[in-house]
């Protein structure tokens, strides 16, 4: 692959902040967005907490009639796209609309919208199902809304890859730029899982936290007192841009998306293919393991998953100074948005030369051989974001300090 791809803008709707600045400030402060669920009656649920975006008003970002025709996940995604555009200083009117595309991921589609319509279908009658169900629920709904809103006529794709969808959207979006499908790609993920049926569905994954009380402390990746996976809602979108295109318009560059890899465990259950994923991601970026300063781990807070991930990271980076963190302990795991938010944290770490102090980590588990005390200021060269998902899929992406700043 040739042609460098850089990140020039970011938009965030997260449980700990809306917009890049609030998100980063609250991330530095360690503020948590995880709280008890009050949107629906959780008495029959084992998990009663989630990372929730409390002060998000869709109409602040999206036209009222479009808000009515779309799901909450789309609202948060369109808001992130708008913020990313402004953050990148991207004048869409000056761009060739056929060269601006998107690569999005989500896990559940527009299920908050669909739950009402499923109820209408099965308890009232099909004639009461909204005409907008057909366009609000399916996985590619958001790319269509963003494309039409801004007149973007380029390459657009939407994928589902469980919790690594966000990582993959950035990696495959960068590949699409390198292969000449577009010059600019909105890449990211979005999810609105704080809905009764989605929570019931997710309970069957047997991963969710059963913590009661102190919700902000419940999500404890790699900690001996872990309680399980805490879900969150939100969206994260970055502007991926062909480096020459970014340079020509004088764009600020947060980081280069230097490479990545996707692997599957197949029938294997151990950390082998996650370790291979990390190592191939580093190699594909033209780096060596010792060049990686920091890893943003997935850290779902479930014992065997955390051990497996820790073993894979230790296998690849263990002999080096590489530190590890799980920033999403502040927000809950936003599923397909998770990889995008991790990449945004990584890009901010690189551009601000700052790491985030661990939260909810009072006693690292003895089975976790990682350097989790990442509270240093340093000149960072490269950060890796990794994750795994259902069926044993692994994805890692590598962000590198932008060459424009000089090495």
């Amino acid at each position: 692959m040739n042609g460098r791809v850089v990140i020039t803008g970011m938009g965030v709707v997260a449980p700990n902040g809306i917009g890049k600045d609030q998100f980063w400030a609250n991330s530095l402060a360690g503020t948590s967005g995880v709280r008890e669920i009050d949107r629906f009656d959780t008495r029959t649920y084992g998990c009663r907490i989630a990372g929730q975006v409390e002060d998000f008003r869709a109409t602040d970002f999206v036209e009222r009639n479009i808000v009515k025709q779309t799901d909450r996940s789309t609202h948060m995604a369109l808001a992130a796209c708008s913020m990313a555009t402004a953050d990148a200083g991207l004048d869409l009117g000056a761009e060739d609309p056929e060269q601006v595309g998107m690569y999005f991921a989500n896990v559940f589609g527009g299920m908050e919208f669909a739950e009402r319509e499923l109820y209408a279908q099965h308890r009232i009658g099909p004639d009461r199902v909204s005409a907008y169900q057909a366009i609000a629920w399916f996985f590619a709904a958001t790319q269509g809304q963003w494309s039409i809103w801004k007149g973007l006529k380029g390459f657009g794709k939407s994928i589902v890859a469980d919790r690594v969808g966000g990582h993959q959207a950035l990696l495959l979006g960068a590949l699409a730029i390198r292969q000449g499908h577009a010059k600019v790609i909105y890449a990211g993920g979005f999810e609105a899982p704080v809905v009764p049926y989605v929570f019931r569905i997710h309970e069957t994954s047997r991963l969710l936290s059963s913590a009661l009380g102190k919700p902000e402390q419940a999500y404890r990746p790699f900690d001996a007192e872990r309680t399980g996976l805490v879900l969150g809602e939100g969206s994260g979108v970055v502007i991926l841009e062909d480096a020459e295109h970014a340079e020509a318009r004088g764009a600020r560059v947060y980081a280069e998306l230097a490479g990545g890899a996707i692997t599957c465990d197949g029938r294997s259950g151990d950390e082998e293919h996650l370790a291979r994923c990390l190592s191939e991601a580093v190699t594909s970026s033209g780096l060596r393991a010792e060049d990686v300063d920091h890893v943003i781990a997935e850290g779902i807070g479930v014992r065997e998953h955390d051990f497996r991930e820790a073993a894979a990271i230790a296998r690849v980076f263990g002999g080096h100074e590489t530190t590890v963190s799980v920033p999403k302990a502040r927000t809950g795991h936003t599923l397909a948005a998770g990889g995008a938010l991790d990449a945004i944290w990584a890009a901010l770490m690189l551009s601000e030369d700052r790491l985030l102090a661990p939260v909810n980590l009072s006693q690292p588990d003895t089975g976790v051989p990682l350097k989790l005390d990442a509270h240093r200021r340093a000149r960072l060269g490269a950060v890796v974001c990794c994750g795994s998902g259902f069926g044993g899929v692994n994805t890692a992406i590598v962000l590198r300090r932008s060459a424009e700043e000089g090495q």
């Binding site: 279908q121 009658g125 939407s158 589902v160 993959q168 996707i262 599957c264 293919h273």
Partner: protein, 427 residues
């Protein structure tokens, strides 16, 4: 490094024509339309009450373990069964492929919605208070998460075949099949894999999916004549016939395929996809965006506009799509559009959403291999806005070198895939 080229070394389909590529070939090339009344759920309050179902699909009889079948939606069952057959037809086995270099990228519009919806129907009750709408009981199937997940159609194939390369599910709705094939091609060209299992699958014959399309008048209402209901490009077309199906292809780097002496069914020459930025469901009559997608696929494949021998159209049988497509072909090929045979496989199989264009890509490979252009069934009365050669009702012998397969879907996505004869010399 020399350019990596992509060939197709295996395929399999499970469609309303039956299980297997032979059943597909027989129905499509002999113009035997599928379709019937929907009987497995209540459609008495729907306007469209017909669909094209896969007859007597029994995953266990087709080789799936009962315990595996039980944790999968019908779509995933179809994908796993078809992928096994395509993998074997490609002459691949655990010994002949490096599993680290083999991935899966299958397209699906709705994933495991059928499984999810059935569980919802069993446990949902009205909520006691607003703003919550629904309360759901606790007695749901323990496999619900993985069964609903659209990613399962791909990752379960990777697990079943023991593949350790990349896996993703392309979820772009009605263009997902060719989009998955295009993404698979890109993975191989970029050197991220040597073999990718790709294609599309959907099992949308469920109450909410039928209603969703029905309530926006996208479906045919010709309930008294299901096998004549899908009539692309005909004057009396009135909407698409909802269908289920699965088409799986094995894409492989050409050198890899040749070194192991694999059967080569054809080439993937190029792929492009663009958005119309026009409307979520409506299409402009001039076909501008689809035309751009086809032109770009030609440019990427370095194929001249005059070298396209056959078009397998999206041809969904909705009034607007077939008009849009006809416009797009004229914009792209000029007067040449009148000389290219065009047909719609949906006239025979209906519209299986994300699976359709994958199945249609297999039909293109069959046409290239056999030198026969498949027909458009149910073509009776020419439509004033569709005046090209739609190969009415009877297949046509014709030596083909380049076939174009395109798809259009909600969100304004238009995608085009160019397939070539296995002996076509590529620059």
């Amino acid at each position: 490094m020399s350019e990596r080229r992509v060939v197709v070394t295996g395929y399999e389909a499970i469609t309303p024509a039956g299980a297997g590529a032979a059943a597909l070939q027989d129905a499509v090339f002999n113009a035997r339309p599928c379709g019937g009344p929907v009987t497995h759920f209540d459609v008495s309050r729907n306007s469209s009450q017909i669909a094209a179902a896969i007859p007597d699909f029994d995953p266990v009889a087709l080789g799936l373990e009962q315990s595996d079948a039980a944790r999968m939606d019908r779509a995933t069952q179809l994908a796993v069964i078809a992928a096994r057959a395509a993998f074997a037809r490609a002459g691949l086995s655990a010994d002949s492929v490096n599993p680290l270099r083999a991935g899966v990228c299958i397209g699906s519009a709705i994933g495991g919605t059928g499984f999810m919806e059935e569980q919802f129907r069993r446990v949902c009750v009205p909520a006691e208070q607003k703003p919550q709408w629904v309360s759901v009981g606790t007695e749901v199937d323990p496999h619900l998460y993985g069964a609903f997940l659209a990613f399962s159609v791909s990752v379960e194939v990777a697990r079943d075949l023991g593949l350790n390369g990349p896996a993703t599910t392309m979820a772009t709705g009605c263009t997902a099949g060719v989009d998955a094939i295009g993404a698979a091609e890109n993975l191989i060209r970029a050197g991220l894999a040597d073999v990718v299992i790709t294609g599309g699958v959907d099992a949308p014959l469920t109450p909410i999916v039928l209603t969703s399309f029905d309530n926006i008048r996208a479906l045919t209402r010709r309930n008294d004549a299901p096998q004549r209901a899908s009539r692309p490009f005909d004057r009396d077309r009135d909407g698409f016939l909802l269908a289920e199906g699965c088409g799986i292809l094995v894409l492989e780097e050409e050198g890899h395929a040749r070194r192991r002496g694999a059967p080569i069914h054809g080439r993937v020459l190029g792929y492009a996809s663009l958005s119309n930025a026009y409307h979520m469901t409506s299409l402009s009559p001039d076909g501008e965006a689809l035309s751009r997608a086809i032109s770009e696929s030609l440019t990427r494949a370095r194929i001249n506009v005059g070298d396209v021998d056959y078009i397998n159209a999206h041809g969904s049988s909705t009034p607007q799509n077939d008009r849009n497509e006809t416009g797009a072909f004229k914009r792209t090929f000029g007067d040449g559009a009148y000389r290219i045979p065009i047909s719609s496989t949906k006239s025979i199989l209906g519209h299986s959403l994300g699976a359709a264009s994958a199945i249609e890509s297999i039909v293109c490979l069959m046409a290239l291999e056999e030198g026969v252009v498949p027909p458009t069934a149910n073509y009776e009365t020419p439509s004033p806005d569709c005046d090209l050669d739609y190969v009415p009702n009877v297949a046509r012998e014709l030596s083909l070198r380049v076939a174009e397969c395109n798809a259009s879907g909600f969100s304004g996505i238009h995608s085009a895939l160019l397939l070539g004869h296995k002996d076509l010399r590529v620059s």
